[in-house]
């Protein structure tokens, strides 16, 4: 057993549910670890798979409602709870499937690269917000404050704006005479779609995202975030 390892290890608490907690070496020394606990990298891969599956399932379920997707909030949550790498992996793997297997037409590789880059904005927002005092307040306070919704909603809105600007620009990049034209035409022609996307994400990020984080805190899943050893 690697009792002295500085690496985080997982332990299982088998109550009515299974809770996986990445523990530090000190805690590990006090709690014997079952032999079958997978290493953290396997846990992270499993988390990516679960989040990507959720994102894909909800994307296909909402295929009839253009630009209203839970995927963005899921990528944000994955990054907030489990770190930037997990969030980026969820966004990239989801788009790798959804971009090619899509009843509305598949994206070419160039557009797909922009879509994945845009999706990473949500991962950056989640991982970035996690490092702020507001996130610490949310994770530590006993009562949920309305201010959390405003903060999460604004962060979600700005990440969505960045995503829409980038992807609308990319849609016109090779159809116009200059990148500036592509930006202006993309912003104007994509405005109705961007508005629906931004308002739906504003609502989702201000309601579902903090609620999911509070739920994760109750299940002690928030300690799975990336921390330096």
């Amino acid at each position: 057993m690697e009792t002295g390892s500085p690496l985080r290890h997982a332990r299982l608490h088998d109550f009515s549910r299974v809770v996986i907690v990445i523990s530090d070496a000190g805690n590990f020394a006090r709690c014997p670890m079952p032999d079958h606990v997978p290493p953290p990298v396997i846990v992270r891969i499993a988390i990516v798979a679960v989040f990507a599956a959720l994102a894909l399932a909800t994307n296909y379920a909402l295929i009839g409602i253009p630009n209203v997707k839970i995927m963005d909030a899921l990528v944000f949550l994955a990054a907030f709870l489990f770190g930037l790498k997990v969030g980026v992996a969820v966004g990239a793997s989801t788009w790798a499937v959804y971009g090619f297997i899509n009843p509305q037409g598949s994206a070419d590789l160039i557009l797909l690269s922009f879509l994945i880059t845009g999706e990473c904005f949500y991962a950056l927002a989640g991982a970035g917000l996690r490092k702020t005092t507001i996130a610490q307040d949310l994770l530590e306070s006993e009562r949920f404050q309305r201010g959390f919704s405003l903060v999460f909603g604004t962060v979600g809105l700005l990440a969505t704006l960045a995503y829409d600007v980038l992807t609308n620009f990319a849609s016109w990049l090779f159809l116009t005479t200059s990148p500036y034209d592509a930006l202006i035409v993309g912003l104007i022609t994509g405005a109705p779609f961007a508005l629906v996307h931004e308002i739906s994400n504003l609502v989702l990020f201000s309601t579902a995202a903090p609620a999911a984080i509070v739920a994760a805190k109750r299940f002690r899943l928030t300690q799975l975030t990336e921390t330096s050893p």
């Binding site: 009839g64 409602i65 253009p66 630009n67 899509n102 009843p103 509305q104 037409g105 598949s106 994206a107 070419d108 557009l111 702020t132 005092t133 507001i134 307040d137 201010g147 405003l150 903060v151 909603g153 604004t154 809105l157 700005l158 704006l161 090779f174 159809l175 116009t176 005479t177 035409v185 912003l187 104007i188 022609t189 405005a191 109705p192 779609f193 961007a194 508005l195 629906v196 931004e198 308002i199 504003l202």
Partner: protein, 173 residues
């Protein structure tokens, strides 16, 4: 001396609310600008419009000089001159996704009706940057519906509705 975190300051939340208002207002303004770009001529005036249907099977049909009220959208014109079928799911802003015209229907995700605008200055065809519902027509405008199976969703790879005709990415202003 350590200062209080910004989250404890009421002005911080006022700033966040202001950001939300600014972003949403900017998007609404962009949408308004979009409608102005394809804005209608004065109401009740009647204008001639030419429409081409290319069924993708070697058959084409022109409906020339159709006399329509200037406040109609091109979608409304399409429904009056062709048997139009749309997707049952509602699209953004109540727009329609045309799936079939005169009995020629999309049989899969990779073949569909593409919408084209004839650019008078360029004497070339360009794919419409907006759906048929958002196109407001002007005197002498020409549009085309072309059923095809393009290699990708990128309009640059689509064929123009008239074989051999010029194609531009967008009309010169």
């Amino acid at each position: 001396m350590s200062s209080a975190p910004p989250s404890r300051n009421p002005l911080f939340y006022v700033g966040l609310a202001a950001i939300i208002v600014i972003v949403v207002t900017a998007q609404v303004a962009a949408m308004y600008q979009l409608q102005n770009l394809f804005g209608a001529a004065p109401a009740q005036e009647r204008i001639p419009v030419n429409t081409l249907f290319n069924y993708g099977n070697g058959t084409s049909r022109w409906r020339n000089q159709t006399d329509v009220p200037s406040d109609w959208s091109f979608y409304k014109l399409t429904t009056t001159i062709a048997q139009t079928e749309t997707s049952p799911t509602t699209s953004v802003s109540g727009q329609h996704y045309v799936t079939g015209l005169d009995g020629v229907k999309s049989s899969g995700p990779y073949d569909y009706w593409t919408l084209w605008v004839f650019c008078q200055k360029d004497t070339a065809w360009a794919t419409s940057p907006v759906g048929a519902d958002l196109i407001k027509m002007k005197d002498g405008d020409a549009f085309a519906w072309y059923y095809q199976t393009p290699p990708s969703t990128n309009p640059a790879t689509w064929d123009p509705p008239v074989p051999g005709a010029l194609k531009v990415s967008r009309c010169s202003s």
